[in-house]
C-alpha cells in the first residue's frame, strides 16, 4: 500500500475548483501493477516470448550441411517468392473482400431491424440469431460439411427430390464460398450483438429531436444511427479482418470431407501449420506466420484509420 491516502486535513486544502467538473487526474503510482501484473506475466509467457522466438527462428535455417545456421533474411525472400504463399494470401484476401462486407451488412441490417422496435418477437430474434456463435467452429464445419455433402447432405436431398443437379459446394470452385457461408453463419449474430448494443445507447433525445423535425426512418438511420455506432463498426471490421487472415479451423476440418478441394496451402495459416507439423520446416513456418502478422496489423490499422477519419 504505497499509496497511503492523505489525511483528510490535507485533502481539504487541495484546490477545489474544477474538482467535480472533470476527471481528476489519477495519481501515478506503481500499485496498478498489482492488478495488471499477473496478466502481463502470463501474457509475456504466451504472447511475447513466442513472438520473439518466432522472429529469432525466422533468421535461421536448418541446412543439410552445417545444421542450423543464421541465414539473415533468406527465409523472408524465399517466402516472398513462394507461389504457394502468394496463392494462399490471395485466397484469404478474396475471402476478406467478399465475406466480411456481406456478413457485416447482414449483421447491421438485423441490428437496425431489432433496434427499430418494429419486429414481432424481438428477443426471440435476438437470441436465436446469436446462438450460432456458441457453436464451436469444429461442429459448425462438420454440420455444414455434412449438409453440403451430396451423399446424405441436404444438397444431395434436393438433387434427388427435384431431379436436378446442383453444383457440389465442396468442389474446388465453390469451396471458398462454402467456407464463407460457414463463417458468415457463425459470426452474424456476434456482430449483430455488437452493433445492437451500440445502437441501444444512443441518447433518446436525438430521436425525439429528429421526430420533431419530421425525419424519415431512413434519415434516422443514415443521419443518427450509423454515425453513432461508427466505433462499433470499426471494431467489428478489425476483428473480421484479423479473423479472415487467420482462417484455419473451417478449411482444416473440411479437408477430410473435401480432400481434393483444400490444399495444404489453402490459407496462410494452414500453410504455416503444414510447414511445421507435416514438413518440420519450423523456421520457414515461423517466417510465413510473421509476414502474415505484419500484413494483418497493417490492414487492421488501415481499417481503423479509415474508420476514424470519417469522424471529422
Amino acid at each position: 500500500m504505497t499509496t497511503a491516502s492523505p489525511p483528510p486535513a490535507v485533502l481539504g486544502t487541495q484546490p477545489k475548483p474544477a474538482k467535480r467538473a472533470q476527471k481528476r487526474p489519477q495519481k501515478r503510482s506503481w500499485s496498478g501493477w498489482l492488478f495488471i501484473g499477473p496478466f502481463m506475466a502470463v501474457f509475456a509467457l504466451v504472447f511475447l516470448a513466442p513472438i520473439a522466438y518466432s522472429i529469432f527462428l525466422s533468421f535461421f535455417r536448418n541446412q543439410l550441411v552445417g545444421g542450423n545456421g543464421f541465414v539473415g533474411l533468406a527465409n523472408y525472400s524465399q517466402a516472398l517468392q513462394d507461389p504457394q504463399f502468394w496463392s494462399s494470401l490471395l485466397r484469404v484476401t478474396l475471402f476478406l473482400a467478399v465475406q466480411v462486407p456481406v456478413m457485416l451488412l447482414i449483421a447491421l441490417l438485423v441490428a437496425l431491424a431489432l433496434d427499430s422496435g418494429r419486429l414481432y418477437g424481438k428477443s426471440f430474434f435476438r437470441i436465436s440469431i446469436f446462438l450460432p456463435y456458441a457453436v464451436p467452429a469444429v461442429v459448425a464445419s462438420l454440420m455444414w460439411g455434412f449438409m453440403y455433402g451430396t451423399r446424405f447432405g441436404l444438397v444431395g436431398n434436393i438433387n434427388s427430390a427435384l431431379g436436378i443437379s446442383l453444383p457440389n459446394p465442396l468442389s474446388p470452385e465453390l469451396i471458398l464460398a462454402s467456407i464463407g457461408n460457414i463463417v458468415t453463419w457463425e459470426f452474424i449474430g456476434y456482430n449483430m450483438l455488437i452493433f445492437y448494443s451500440a445502437l441501444r445507447v444512443i441518447p433518446k433525445s436525438l430521436y425525439e429531436a429528429a421526430e420533431i423535425d419530421g425525419a424519415s426512418q431512413f434519415r434516422l438511420v443514415t443521419a443518427i444511427k450509423l454515425p453513432a455506432i461508427r466505433g462499433a463498426l470499426v471494431v467489428a471490421g478489425i476483428f473480421s479482418v484479423i479473423g479472415s487472415f487467420q482462417l484455419f479451423n473451417e478449411p482444416a476440418i473440411l479437408q477430410s470431407l473435401a480432400p481434393n478441394s483444400i490444399s495444404t496451402f489453402f490459407t496462410p495459416n494452414l500453410y504455416a501449420y503444414s510447414l511445421s507439423f507435416s514438413g518440420q520446416q519450423y523456421n520457414y513456418s515461423a517466417t510465413v506466420a510473421i509476414i502474415m502478422g505484419v500484413i494483418t496489423m497493417v490492414i487492421a490499422y488501415a481499417v481503423q484509420l479509415r474508420g476514424m477519419r470519417k469522424e471529422s
Binding site: M1, T3, S5, P6, L11, K23, P25, Q26, R28, W30, I36, P38, F39, M40, V42, F43, I51, I106, A113, L114, S116, G117, R118, F125, S128, I129, F130, L131, P132, A134, A137, V138, V139, W144, F146, R151, F152, N157, I188, L193, S197, R200, V201, K204, I229, G231, V234, V235, I242, Q246, I253, S256, L257, Y273, S285, A286, A289, M292, A300, Q304
Partner: protein, 314 residues
C-alpha cells in the same frame, strides 16, 4: 490501435444510471419512437436470417435422431425411421470405452481452469487499466492490442517448441496456460470497470485506509458482476471451442477436448479400414453444443447488459 476513447460525460452519466441500480434490463424508455407500429414485412425479412441461423441446428437435432442407415437414405430436414436419439446418445457415450465422457471432462477441465483463469486475469487487469495510472500503462495497452493481430500460427509453432522444451506438450497445461490470456476480455473489462466503478468510491475507500486488495474484492468486485459474467461467457466459448491449440499440443487422445475428439471420429471414416460413425459424430456434436447454448440462454440478462456497457466506449 486505440479504438476506444474515453467516454464523454453524457455517456458516462447514462451508463451509470443504467448499469448500477440492479442492472435494469435495456428496456427502452423512448416514447413515440419507442412504440412504433410493428411491421410484418420487416419481421418476415428478418425471419429469413433467423431461419438461416437456426436451420443447421434443426438439421443437427433431427439427424441426431437417426440411425446410421437412415442418415443416408432419408431427407435431411425431417425425421425418419425410428427415433434413435437416445440410442445414439447411449452409443456415443459408450463408444471406445466411453472416450466421449473423458473428452467431455477434459473440456470441462480446460474451461474451468482456462476460462476461469482468463477471466480472473482480465478482471484484475481491466480494473488496473480503468482505475489506476501507473508507469507503462500506455505501453501495456499498445502491446496487448498489437498482439491480437498476430496470427495464431505465429504463436502456435514457437509456443509448441517452447512448451516441448519445458516438457509441457501433451499435458493439460499446454492447453490451459495459453488460454489464460484473453485480450478481448481485458478490453471488455477495462471499458466496463471504468464506468461501473465510480472513482469517488475508490477514493473514499482509500481514505478510510482500506488496502488495495480489500478495496478491490469487497467494494469493486460486486459492481463488476455483469462484466465478469460477460467475459466469463466469452472466454468459455473461446476455450470450449478451441481447436487449433489442442490440435498442435496434444498427441494422446486421452487428453483431447471434445472438438478434437469429434474431428478424430469424423476423420476416422476417411482413413483406410476406419469405421464410419457419422451418427455418433452428429450426436456428439449435438451434445457438445448443448451446454454452451444452455449457458447463453440462462445468463442472457447478464451478458447482454455487460456487452452493452462495453459498447458505450467508442
Amino acid at each position: 490501435m486505440s479504438v476506444a476513447v474515453e467516454p464523454t460525460r453524457t455517456d458516462k452519466h447514462r451508463t451509470r444510471q443504467r448499469t448500477k441500480p440492479g442492472y435494469v434490463r435495456m428496456k427502452s424508455t423512448r416514447r413515440g419512437v419507442d412504440n412504433p407500429k410493428r411491421s410484418v414485412l420487416l419481421t418476415v425479412l428478418t425471419g429469413i436470417v433467423l431461419i438461416y441461423s437456426l436451420i443447421p441446428l434443426v438439421w443437427l437435432f433431427i439427424n441426431a435422431s437417426k440411425t446410421q442407415a437412415d442418415l443416408f437414405t432419408s431427407f435431411g430436414l425431417w425425421f425418419s425411421g425410428d427415433f434413435a436419439l437416445f440410442g445414439n446418445i447411449g452409443d456415443t457415450l459408450a463408444y471406445d470405452d466411453g472416450i466421449f465422457g473423458r473428452w467431455f471432462l477434459n473440456t470441462v477441465l480446460y474451461v474451468v481452469l482456462g476460462a476461469g483463469g482468463a477471466t480472473f486475469l482480465a478482471v484484475l487487469g481491466g480494473y488496473a487499466l480503468a482505475k489506476f495510472s501507473f508507469p507503462g500503462k500506455k505501453a501495456v495497452f499498445a502491446v496487448v492490442i498489437g498482439a491480437v493481430a498476430v496470427p495464431g500460427t505465429a504463436l502456435a509453432v514457437p509456443t509448441f517448441l517452447m512448451f516441448s522444451e519445458m516438457g509441457l506438450t501433451n499435458t493439460p497445461w499446454s492447453v490451459i496456460i495459453p488460454s489464460l490470456i484473453s485480450p478481448f476480455g481485458l478490453y471488455l473489462m477495462w471499458t466496463f470497470a471504468s464506468e461501473a466503478i465510480p472513482t469517488e468510491l475508490l477514493e473514499s475507500a482509500r481514505m478510510d485506509g482500506a488496502g488495495e486488495f480489500r478495496t478491490f474484492f469487497q467494494i469493486c468486485l460486486p459492481l463488476l458482476g455483469p462484466g465478469i459474467v460477460t467475459v466469463l461467457l466469452f472466454t468459455m466459448v473461446a476455450t470450449w471451442n478451441n481447436y487449433f491449440l489442442p490440435l498442435i499440443m496434444l498427441k494422446d487422445p486421452a487428453w483431447y477436448p471434445l472438438t478434437l475428439g469429434l474431428n478424430a471420429w469424423n476423420a476416422q471414416a476417411s482413413t483406410a479400414g476406419g469405421e464410419a460413425i457419422f451418427n455418433l459424430v452428429i450426436t456428439g456434436s449435438l451434445l457438445t453444443i448443448l451446454p454452451l447454448i444452455a449457458a447463453f440462454l440462462l445468463l442472457q440478462r447478464y451478458w447482454q447488459s455487460g456487452l452493452s456497457a462495453g459498447a458505450v466506449k467508442e
